[in-house]
Symmetry: D4
Subunit: 250 residues, 8 copies
C-alpha cells in the first residue's frame, strides 16, 4: 500500500464512501502492510518470485510436512527448497509430493514446480576437493531452485593449479562464482584473481586438527588478496547461492 493508495482511501472517506471505522481498520496495520511483507512469514523464507525455503535441521518430519502442505496450498506455483533435511524428512516430503527430488550429498530436497530461468547470467560453483562437494551441491541445488542457470567444476584445488586453469574460459564467462573450499581455503583468492565477476567464498568444515571445523578456511577467505571476494558462514552453500541469486537477478 503506497501513498497513492492511502490518498484514494482518504478521498473515499472524505466522500463518505468508506466509513471512518473501516478506514481506521485498514490504516491500523499500515506500517507493516506498507513494508510489503505480508507474504514473508517464515524466518529464512524468500521474497515473492523466488522460491520458498524450509530449514530442515531440528525440525521433525511432521513439522516439515505441515509447513510444506501449507506452502503448497497457499501458492500453486513456485519452487520449494528444503535444506539440511534427512531421510525421515525425505520420506514425509516424498509422500506429499512424489516429484520432489532428494539430493543426498547435501541432504537437500527440491520441489521444482517451475523451470523458469529468472537470473540473467550463469552462477558457477567451484569446489576445491571431493570433501567440499556436499556444500557445493547445496549451493547448486539452491541456485537452481531459485531459478538460475548453474554450472559447476569440482576437484580443482590449488595444489594442482593447472586443473583450475584449464577452466579459465568457463570461469570468465560466469556472472557470479561460488568458491567452496576447506583446509587452507585458498581457492577464492586464485579464482578471484582470474575473473572480474564477484566471488562468494564458502569455507567448509573439511579437514582436521587446525582446520578447526572450517575456521581456518573462513579466516583465509576473509583475508583474500583478491578484492572481489566476499564470504558466508562455514558450510553455508545455501547462503552463498542465495546471495548469488540476488546478484544474478539484479
Amino acid at each position: 500500500m503506497d501513498a497513492s493508495e492511502i490518498e484514494l482511501l482518504l478521498k473515499s472517506v472524505h466522500e463518505g464512501q468508506t466509513s471512518t471505522s473501516t478506514a481506521l481498520e485498514r490504516l491500523k496495520n499500515l506500517p507493516f502492510e506498507d513494508l510489503g511483507f505480508a507474504k514473508v512469514d517464515h524466518h529464512r523464507d524468500l521474497r515473492q518470485g523466488f522460491a520458498e525455503v524450509i530449514y530442515g535441521r531440528g525440525k521433525s518430519p511432521e513439522h516439515v510436512a505441515g509447513i510444506l502442505r501449507s506452502m503448497l496450498s497457499a501458492r500453486k506455483t513456485g519452487n520449494i527448497l528444503i535444506t539440511r533435511a534427512n531421510l525421515q524428512i525425505w520420506d514425509a516430503v516424498h509422500e506429499i509430493y512424489p516429484k520432489a527430488l532428494f539430493h543426498e550429498l547435501s541432504q537437500s530436497i527440491s520441489l521444482r514446480r517451475s523451470k523458469a530461468i529468472l537470473g540473467k547470467g550463469t552462477i558457477l560453483v567451484v569446489a576445491a576437493g571431493t570433501s567440499d562437494i556436499p556444500a557445493a551441491e547445496e549451493a547448486v541445488v539452491t541456485a537452481e531452485t531459485l531459478g538460475n542457470r548453474v554450472e559447476f567444476i569440482y576437484d580443482v584445488g590449488v595444489a594442482g593449479i593447472h586443473r583450475l586453469l584449464r577452466h579459465r574460459k568457463q570461469l570468465c564467462a560466469a556472472r557470479v562464482i561460488i568458491c567452496v573450499a576447506g583446509m587452507e581455503g585458498a581457492l577464492p583468492s586464485v579464482v578471484g584473481g582470474l575473473v572480474a565477476a564477484p566471488v562468494i567464498g564458502v569455507p567448509t568444515s573439511t579437514g582436521y586438527g587446525t582446520s578447526f571445523g572450517g575456521l581456518t578456511a573462513l579466516l583465509a577467505m576473509l583475508n583474500s588478496c583478491s578484492s572481489n571476494v566476499s564470504v558466508v558462514n562455514i558450510d553455508n552453500g545455501f547462503g552463498a547461492a542465495f546471495v548469488a541469486s540476488t546478484i544474478n537477478r539484479a
Copy 2:
C-alpha cells in the same frame, strides 16, 4: 590474445610476413597474455576499465609517488585510488596531481580523471554509528572512484530502528547495499530483511572490551538470519565497495 589472434599470427608466420623469432617472442608470453593479465601488475590492482588502486599502508611517500607517476604516464585516462594513506603520502600525491582529493576520515586519496558512470544501479552505503563512518567513507570513495552512483545513510543503528525504517524506499531502490557496523554488528540482518538486493557486511573495529577489535561484529554478520548477506574483512570498506562494483557492473 585469443585463439583467432594466434591463428592470424600462425598464418602470418606461414606466409612469411612474420619471422619465426618475432613469433616466438610473442608466443613466449602466451600463457599470461592469454589470461588477459598484461595490465595487472600490482597486487591489489583492478581489472582494465576499473580504476587502479594503491594500498598505502606501509609504503613510503616516495614509493607511492613512484607508483603513481608510473600509472599516470602509462595510462592517460581512468581513475586512481590510494587507500590507507596518510598526510605525508597526501603531500607527495598532491604535488604530483593537484586535483587529487584527500578524504580525511578514511585516509583515502582519489584521482578522478573520469566521471563516467560504469555501474548500472546505485550502491548504497549504510553505517550504524558515527564511529563506523571511516570505513563507510572508504566504501563510498572506492565505489565512486570505480565509476558507480553512490548514496549513503549514516547513524542508523538498530537501537533506534525507526531511524532506519524512515529510509525504506532508498534501501529498496539500491542495487547493492553495503552495511557498515561495529559493536554487535546487527545492521546487515535488519537491512537484509527489508530488501531483495545483495547486502555486503563490513564489520568495524568500533567498540571496546568484548568487541575484540571487530571480531564480534564479524561473527554476527556471518551468522545473519538474513540470507542475502555476505561479509568482508574487518574495516574493509574498500573490499566491500570493490565487490559491490563487480555486482553493479554485471
Copy 3:
C-alpha cells in the same frame, strides 16, 4: 535470627528461663543463621518465599527423587522447579508428585503448589527463532514457577522486523523483558531500543559454523548499542528468569 531475637534469648538466659547450655546450642550456629541462610542448602536454591530449584543435569533419577522428597516433607508449600531434567527423572518425579508438569522442549519439570503472584509486573519472554524456543520455554517455566505473570512472543527475528514491531505495545508494557536469540544475537539490541525496561539477553547455541555454540550471539549481546541490556550464559533461560524475578519482585 536478628538482633532482637538474640536480645530476647539473652534476657531469657539472664532471667533463668533458658539454660546456658541451651542458649549455647542456639548461638553456636549464629553466624550462619544470622545470615538468614538456614534453608539454603542446595547450590542453586532460591531464597525463602521463592520456589526451590533442582539442577537435574548429571543427577540420577534416584538422586533427584531423594532431594525432592526431602523438599516436599520439609516445606508444605511453595513451588519446586527441576531444570535440565530428562524422561527418566520425569518418571521418578511423576511417581512422587503426580500433579507435576513436564515441559518437554526445555526439559523442565514444575511442581506448582501455589499460584500466588509475587511479582509486581509482567515478565515478557521474546524469542527470535523456533530453535530458540527451548531456552525461552525454560525462562517462561522458571518465571512462572517463581510466581510471576509471564507472557511470551516467539519467532520475531530481526530479519523480519515488522513481525516484532507488531508487538510494540506488549513490549512497552512489560516490566522486564527476556530476549532469547541465537545466530547473530541482534534481538536484544532492537528490543532494547523500543522499551525503557531492563532487557536480559539469553544467547542460544542455535546455529552452525561460526555461531560457535552460542558464543557469537553472546558477544553480540555484550556489545549491544542499547544500554538497557545485560546478559546471562548461553542457553541459560533459567538464570535470565531468576534475575527477572528479582527485578520484578523489588
Copy 4:
C-alpha cells in the same frame, strides 16, 4: 499518535475540516511518530525523563561541545552525562557549562541540572580492588546523573572475605547491586549468594597475562553459581548503571 487520534483525523477528513492532502502528510510519517521516538535522536541517548548521554571516546572537543550546546538549548532541564571524556573535552565543556563536574578516575563529566531522585531504592556499587575503581566510579556517576540514590563499597575482594561480610546489612538493603571486579571476577558470585536483589557484574580489564583484558573476569561472571547475576561488557560501568536505573525506576 494512537488509534483514537487517527480516528479523530479521519473524522475531520470525513467532515471536510481537514483536506485529504494534509491528512496524507500527517499519516505518511505515522509508522514512526506512532513509535513515539521523536525525541530519541542520538545513538545511546536515554528516554525522556532520564538524563542525556554523550559517548566521548573518539569525538573531538568541538564535536562534543556542539552536541552539548544543542542539548542545553533544546531542553532547559534534565541532567547530562559525558562518558569516556578527556581533559580536552573537559576544557570545552567547562567553558560552556562552568558548573559541570569532571570525575577524573572514570573520565566522566556530569551536568547536574536536577537533583530529583527518580529511582525507588538504592543502587549499591561494590568494587573488588583499587584498580576496579575507575569502572566503579563510572557506574556511580552514571547512576547519580540518572537520578538514583547511590552508595558504594570499594576494595572488598574475595581474598579477604571478612571485609565483604562486614557490609552484609548494606548489601541486603540495596535494591540493585553493581559488582565491579577484574582478575578472577568472583565478587558477583559471593555477593549474589548474600542477597536477594539483582546483581549486575562489570568485569574490568584489571590484571595481566591470562586476565586477557577482562575476558577472564567476564567469563567467570557469566558462569556464576549465583543465579541472580547478569553481566555487561568489560569496563562498562555506564551500561551497568543504566540497566540498574531501569530496574530501580520500575
Copy 5:
C-alpha cells in the same frame, strides 16, 4: 655413581684390579646411571618410595593387566594407582589383584599394599559443587595411595559462603589444600584468603556454554587475587594430589 665411586674405579684400574675394558663398559653408561633413573621406566611413574601409577585412558584391559603384573612382580611392596580406568580395566585388575578397590566416581583403581603414612601433615580436598566430586575423588584417592592423611569437604561453593566458613578450622589446619571447582572457579581465591598454606586449584569441566569445558574456571584460578594459589590442568585431580604429596613429604 658419584665422583668418589669414579675415583675408586680409576684407582682400581690404576692398580690393575679392574681391566681397562671392564672399566670402559662401566663408564660408558655413566651419564645415565649417574642420574639414578634406572627404576623410572614409565612415563608418569612416581619416584621410589611413592606409589606407581598407570594412566588408564586409551589403554586396553590387556595392556593395563600386563603392566600391572610386571609391577607386582618387580616390587613386592608399595601402592599402585590406575587413573582414568573403566569397567573393563577394572575387571582385568580385579582378577589379578582381588583386594584392589574401584572408585567409581573418578574411575580410579587403587591397590593398597601399604597403609604407611609418608606425608607429614594433612592434605585437604575441597570441592565447590556436586559435579566437581569426580575430580575431587581422583585427588583424594591419589593422595591416599601416595601415603598421605587426606580429608575432604564437598559442596561448599562460594554462592553460599557460610557453608565454607563453617569449616574454617579444618581449612587452617591443613598443610596443603586442593580446591576443585568448575563454573566461575572462585573457590581457590576465597579459600586462599582464609589460610596460610599452599592452595592447588583444579578447574573442572563442570558447566555449560561459556564454561568452555573448564577453561573459564582455569583462567579464573590463574588470576586469583590470593597469592598462595597455583593451578593444574582441567579435571587433573591426580596431578594436584601428586603436587600436594611432594609438598607434604618435604
Copy 6:
C-alpha cells in the same frame, strides 16, 4: 614443451610442414602441457617416482576400491598408500590386492609393489608417549611406502630425559627426524638441540583439558627454541613423512 620446441614448431609452420590448424591445436594446451602435470590427477597424489596416496577418510569402500583399481591398472609398478582408512575399506582393498598390509594403530594400508630405497639417508621417527604411536606409525608407514629407510624410537618423553639421551647416536645419525608428541609438545625442542639435522614436529591430539586437541603441542613446537624445527598439522604423520621424503631424496 620448452622454447626450443616452440621454435621448431614455428619453423615447421613457416616451412609449411605443419598446418596452421595443427599448430594451433598444439599451442592451445601449452600452458598446461608445459607445466608437465599430465599425470597429476588426484588431489594429494604424489609426483612421479613416489608412491600414490589415497586419503581414506570420508570415502566409501566402493569409492576407494574404484580409485585403487584405476591406479593399479594405470601403473604396473610403484607403491600405493591409503591413509585414514577403516576396516570396511581394508576389506575392500584386501579383496583387490591380497598382499596389501593393514597398519592397525594408524589405520593405514600399504601396497608395497617395490622395495626400492629412493632416499639417501635414514628417516628417524621419535615419539614421546604411547598415545603418540598412532601418528608416529602413520609417519613410519608413509616414509617406508615412499621408499625410505626408516627407524623409530617410541616412549621417550622429556619427563625422563635419560631415556632419550640413551639414543643420542641414533639421533645424530639420522638425515631427517620426525618428532611426534602431544601434551606440552617439548620433544622437538630437546631433540633439535641434540642434532644438526632438520626436525619435523608432529603435534598430536593426545591429552585432555587444555591440550585442546593438540593445539598446545602445536603452539609449543612453533615456538621451539631449537632453530632446526618446522611443524605440520596436528596428527599429520603422513605430512611429516612426506616432507621428510622430499628432504631425504634431494
Copy 7:
C-alpha cells in the same frame, strides 16, 4: 572466640555480671572477630610473620609512599616488597627509606628490615633464557624478602639440555623449584622429571608470533608430562615465589 568463651559469656549474663546489652554487642560481631582477620587490610598483603607487599602497577608514587609510610609506622619490623614499580616510585621510596633496594630487571623494590630465614629448605629459581630473567628476578627478590634461602640458575633452556644436566645436584637439593620459561615452556617438564620436589612453572611473555604473550608457554606447562608441576599466571614471578614460600615454611 570459641564455644568455651561463648559459654563463659553466657554464664556471666546468667549470673548478672554482664548486662544483656553488653553481651549483645559482643555477640553481634562474632562472625568476623572469630575469623581473626583484623590485621589483614590490604588486598595482596601477606599473613603476619611474612613480609608485606605493595603491588605498584597503576599506583602513583604518592599513593605508594602513603601506603609505605603507614606500613613502616604500624610495624617496626618485617620486610616490605613493592612489585611492578618504576623509577618514579623508586625515587619516592628511596627518599622514605634510603636502605631500600631497587631490582632493576624486575622493577621490584625490597626493604629488608630482617635477614631472618623462615623457610626450612632452599627455593631454587631456574630460568630458560635471558629474556626470562625479569620474571625470574621477581621470584628471587620475592622469595628472599619473604625469608627464604634462594638460589638461581639462569639460561638453561631445553635446546641445550647438557647445560641443565650440569646442575643436577643443585636441582635435587632444592625443596621447591620455580621454573621460568617463555616460548615453548618446556623447562618445567624436563626439570620436573629430574627431581622429587614440587615444581612451580612461571610462563613468560617472551617470544613473538604464536607465543601469544606467554599463552603458549602457559598451556605447555599445564600439560606437562611431569606430574609434580603446577602453574601460576604469565610473568607472575611474585606469585610463584609466594606459593614456594608457603611450601617452604610448612
Copy 8:
C-alpha cells in the same frame, strides 16, 4: 670424546702415565663433552661449521657488542649473524667490525668472514607481497650467512597466478623453497603443488582485522593441501632459513 678416547685415557691410568686425579677431572665432565656440545654456549647458536647467531631483540647495544667481541676473538673464521637488531645495535657493531652489513628491511646484520658455499643446492625464497619482504629478507640474509646459494622471487601473490607461473623453472630447480606470505597464506599451497622439493612456509603478520597478526596465514599453511609443506612461527624468516640450511647441507 668418544669411546676410543676414554679407552686411551683408561690405559694411560692403568700404565701410570696419567694420575687418578687428572683422569677424574677429565671424566667428571664426560657426559657433556661426550655430547659434543662444548662450543654450544648461546641459546640459539649454531652448530660448528655453521655461522654463529645473536638474537638482537631485547639486548642492549653494549650487550650485543660484548657477545660479538667474544665471538670474534674466540674464532677467527666463520660468519656471524645478528637478527632483530636496530640502528643502535648497528652502530655498535659497525664500530667493532666495519665490514659488517646492515640489512635494513629485516633489521639484520651480517658479518661475512667466509664466502664458502656449504650447501649443495639452491635455497629459493618466494614472497607473496611487498609487505612480506622483511621476513623474506631475513630468510635470504640468514641462508646466505649460513653458507648457501640463495635466490629470491618477490611479489608473486596468488591473486595474480600468472606472475608466479612465469618462474616455474626457477621453482623446480631449487633444492628447498621458503614461501613467505601473510593475509590468506595461500602461496605455499600453490608453490608446493608445482615442485617436488620441500617447501617451508613462513606466515607473516601482514594484514589487518582477521589476519590476527599472522595467525590466519599460519593456520592456512598448516592446512595446506600440498603435502610437501611444513611451517615455522609467524615472521620467523630466520628459522625457515635455518631449517632450509640443515636440509641443503645434508
